[in-house]
């Protein structure tokens, strides 16, 4: 079996960093996490995306953009080394996988077309993924997906959809090492804030 090593970045509150670095993440603890790829621990491939996540989290709570000093004080980033057999990765950026995934979602949607509650519900994709995992139909330990987010560019209209590649880890075993990121530069912070509308 061929192994792949992925370096992922996870943004979280400063107070969580030390414990995670000592005890590792706990996938089961986050089983109620309602994110788009279902239960699991989420990482960004790019450090700057984890920093952006932290800034958005702060903004959500405090209703303002944090200063560089404040975000460094309140939030931190963990760099994790994820080692996984290639066969255990479900890469949703690949068209053959995406086609099957879309079929799965559309069949579930079709089955529930008459259910008013479902029409107005959220978290559909995550719930379908979670269901398939709980039934043992999906067993992959890692999911990959690139998402595109519009950013506030003034002049680069054709380039305004910014890609963020994400890793969703479904099994603790593949996380081999967690290291606190000690240095986040002011320039990295400025690069993110610049694109906030």
């Amino acid at each position: 079996m061929e192994e792949e090593t992925i370096e992922g970045y996870h943004g979280t509150k400063s107070e969580n960093i030390e414990l995670i670095c000592i005890e590792n993440f706990n996938v089961n603890k986050d089983s109620n996490d309602k994110l788009f790829l279902g239960s699991g621990i989420y990482f960004f491939i790019e450090l700057s995306d984890a920093l952006d996540w932290n800034i958005k989290k702060y903004k959500e709570i405090h209703h303002c953009i944090p200063t560089y000093e404040k975000i460094i004080e309140k939030y931190g980033i963990i760099k994790s080394i994820i080692v996984v057999d290639k066969e255990e990765i479900l890469d949703l950026d690949k068209k053959d996988i995406l086609r099957k995934f879309e079929l799965l979602i559309s069949k579930c949607n079709g089955k529930l077309i008459t259910k008013e509650q479902y029409k107005n519900a959220s978290n559909k994709t995550a719930a379908i993924i979670n269901m398939m995992y709980s039934r043992g139909e999906i067993k992959r330990k890692v999911l990959l997906k690139t998402f595109f987010e519009p950013i506030g560019t003034k002049y680069l209209q054709g380039l305004k959809n910014y890609p963020r590649k994400m890793v969703c880890v479904k099994n603790n075993d593949v996380i081999k090492e967690n290291i606190k990121v000690n240095k986040i530069s002011k320039e990295e912070y400025d690069n993110i804030i610049y694109f906030y509308e």
Binding site: N32, K34, L35, F36, G38, S39, K56, K57, E60, L90, D96, I97, R99, K100, E102, L103, L104, I105, S106, K107, C108, K111, L112, T114, K115, Q117, Y118, N120, A121, S122, N123, K124, T125, A126, A127, I128, N130, M131, M132, S134, R135, G136, E137, I138, K139, R140, F147, F148, E149, P150
Partner: protein
Amino acid sequence: MDIFDLSFEEFEKKVDSILDDMSSEELLQELIKNGLTLDTYVKYISYIEEIENVWVHKNRTSTIEKIKSAMINNKKDMVVAA
């Protein structure tokens, strides 16, 4: 090996067989058990959900916006939820 290792045709058959084995109500209940949120006004920073097969990033609705929306639509239950 899991369902995504199957050929497209086999994958479709497998999905059909899973869904044929349950009623729409059973499927709905199983999805709720697995995190489907019936209340659309969920509190977290942002979420991405598939809308008409396109991945769209959505910012969460603020509490004030929820209350405004509820008042406009004269829906008391939404005001309570907000």
